[in-house]
Subunit: 233 residues, 2 copies
DNA sequence: TATTGAAGAATTGTTCAACAATCCCTATTC
DNA sequence: GAATAGGGATTGTTGAACAATTCTTCAATA
């Protein structure tokens, strides 16, 4: 038994060790760029020059091009043939489509949440708490990130890799809209209490109510975003 | 009026002209590889050597690597660091996840089909007819392709770019399973009449029935595929 | 002043060669 | 059979080069 137990953690360590250093430079560059796009350091419309970025990051143009290919598929960048690569700007139609997509994915996940994997609801709660803590110190960027984690957690209730990945992408994409919004704080501050309420509905097993509340939230959020587009036009 | 009309078709022509020759070699290579993966010329597990493939296609290794980056994101290829790129092999858990994902997407699209865009239902009908014609001449590969078109058309009823793209990907991915199946014909021949029946339900506006029928079909198909995995193990 | 065209500079897309690092395969030894 | 070492093959990355395309600027013209 003692010998078997030792083999288990040795195998675990070997497993974990094998992941160290096993990512390509292209993937790492893509990670760095993705983070900057999501957090707003690279704003929509920004042109990403191969020359400048390659020099800044200390990688060759070919490696950078590979990283660009990874990110264009995530719809964070848009690749214009012979003109270069840009951080994507979303249109009102994009916003409508994003919310239609989210309604399909997020509401289905809540619908299936009676069979959520172990720990999935904990992730939802953690995201609620993360947002509330950030709001206490007026860190609205982190509130935005926590809200994204909340909705990622909602989709995680379905226990599906492909749904998780779809959510990851579309929630990242939606961040692009927020970075050009005039009133980011106003948009997010009403959602903290709403997220808490949704979590409570889920925790107490009131799935149909949670689904209704989520759909209502998505409708309101979509309308607010579209209104924000009109204000800035 | 005559002057306005001229400007319209001039603008249309300019629009169309700007698309000619505006794809990169990397994108074209990815298209060629994607088709071969979907149609089964490149089977799951196949290793795609940069050297061999670059020579065969007459492109440089860098260009090929860009193409690989495009396809790994579509889950058709899997990129193993320092070992190369392989056509993906799906596991039984993958199949379960794919069907969970399809149930979410396809059933939601049918649910929303009262507001389908103009021509969307025609695409569904065309796919049904394509499959029936192919079966008449025992062209079961085209039956498989037509079935994919049918389900792509189902999702098209939602009129959402992001749902369309999600469907395109997951249906392509599912093709990988069929290429290693022993009895491809048996799997597909019962679905032609079912697709016709589903189309009729949609055409006559019986949306709830169509949704129920689709969910039932997806359950059956999933079970059959999982059974086929057990038979081959 | 506004528009058009030409020229030059900047950039992208692709190829090629080179090299370091890693993996795979084979042969040898215990 | 298992472990090890060596050699070859391949991947990951860099950098240079060049053709093609786009962008910017300036001059000429209406």
């Amino acid at each position: 038994m003692s010998m078997t137990s030792r083999r288990d953690w040795v195998a675990d360590l070997a497993n974990e060790r094998s992941l160290i250093g096993r990512s390509s430079t292209a993937a790492r560059v893509a990670d760095a760029l993705r983070t900057r796009v999501i957090e707003g350091a690279l704003l929509p419309g920004t042109r990403l020059s191969e020359e400048d970025l390659g020099a800044a990051l200390g990688v060759s143009r070919n490696t950078l091009r590979e990283a660009f290919r990874l990110l264009t598929h995530e719809r964070l960048l848009v690749h214009e043939f012979n003109r270069g690569v840009f951080v994507r700007t979303l249109t009102p139609d994009d916003v409508r489509d994003v919310y239609q997509y989210r309604r399909v994915i997020e509401c289905a996940a809540v619908h299936q949440s009676a069979h959520a994997p172990a720990g999935a609801l904990d992730a939802v709660r953690a995201a609620v708490e993360e947002g509330e803590a950030a709001a206490l110190v007026d860190d609205w960027s982190t509130v935005g990130t926590a809200n994204m984690h909340f909705h990622q957690g909602i989709v995680g209730l379905a226990g599906s890799q492909r749904l998780d990945e779809a959510a990851r992408q579309v929630l990242a994409e939606l961040r692009l809209v927020f970075h050009v919004m005039a009133d980011f704080q106003r948009f997010h501050e009403s959602y903290l209490t709403q997220n808490r309420a949704m979590y409570q509905l889920l925790r107490t097993g009131r799935i149909a109510d949670a689904e209704t509340e989520l759909a209502r939230y998505l409708d309101v959020a979509e309308r607010q975003l579209l209104d924000a587009f009109r204000e800035s036009a």
